[in-house]
């Protein structure tokens, strides 16, 4: 079965600092991968998805970017964090059953 790892689990960063969140998956090959953000009291917002290495689609214009350097690695980055970037970031993969499974998440607080 598939396993999704996210690192780090929590992060506190000052405004203007860079960001790198990592998502790695096991137990599957060439999965569709997704980055979501969940702000306090709100639902999930799809940020990026990737259907393969080097293939990134952005759903929301923002100061975040994503990369997929390896088949099972999906990275969310920013050059300069904003206060509004605070939230809970979730990585997900699409299983063969057409169901999305989610990682444990990263709690980001921008001060």
């Amino acid at each position: 079965s598939q396993t999704i790892h996210q690192w780090p689990a929590t992060l506190v960063q000052p405004v203007g600092s860079p960001l790198s969140l990592e998502c790695t998956v096991e137990g599957t090959s060439n999965p569709n991968l997704y980055w979501y953000r969940q702000a306090a009291g709100r639902g999930l917002q799809l940020l990026f998805y990737s259907v393969g290495i080097g293939q990134i689609s952005s759903e929301v214009p923002q100061n975040l970017s994503a990369s997929r350097p390896q088949d099972r690695q999906f990275i969310l980055s920013s050059k300069k964090l904003l206060l509004s970037d605070s939230g809970f970031y979730l990585c997900a993969l699409l299983a063969a059953t057409d169901t999305q499974y989610f990682g444990p998440g990263t709690r980001l607080t921008v001060l």
């Binding site: 809970f88 169901t99 989610f102």
Partner: protein, 114 residues
């Protein structure tokens, strides 16, 4: 764009009571997913419904998709403190890209009092 409305936004029940959470779509649902989330944790997949009138159960949780495929309900029988958490419905949305995408409701916060 497709929107999902969940109701209620929050729910507090006594242990042992039954409860229902609803998810209503502005458009026909082609795939409806229910997830549970503990605070600060990832989403746990519960069930997926695709056909009008479909009903699935797992332990004490039953989910239904209505015949018109625009509303789904999640019913918990004899609730327990372990059922507490945030319940989210998600739906397949048409995508111009090559990946399946989901849109989510804002969630229902369930508290079960012992």
């Amino acid at each position: 764009s497709q929107e999902l409305e969940q109701s209620p936004q929050s729910l507090i029940v006594q242990e042992g009571k039954n409860l229902t959470i609803n998810c209503t779509s502005s458009k026909t649902l082609y795939g409806l997913y229910w997830y549970k989330q503990k605070y600060g944790e990832g989403l746990i997949f519960l069930m997926m419904l695709q056909k009008g009138g479909e009903e699935k159960s797992h332990e004490k949780i039953t989910a239904k998709l209505d015949e018109k495929k625009q509303q789904s309900s999640l019913h918990i029988t004899a609730s327990q403190p372990s059922h507490a958490g945030i319940y989210l419905c998600g739906a397949d949305i048409p995508s111009s890209g090559s990946a399946r995408q989901l849109t989510f409701g804002s969630g229902t916060q369930l508290t079960v009092l012992p």
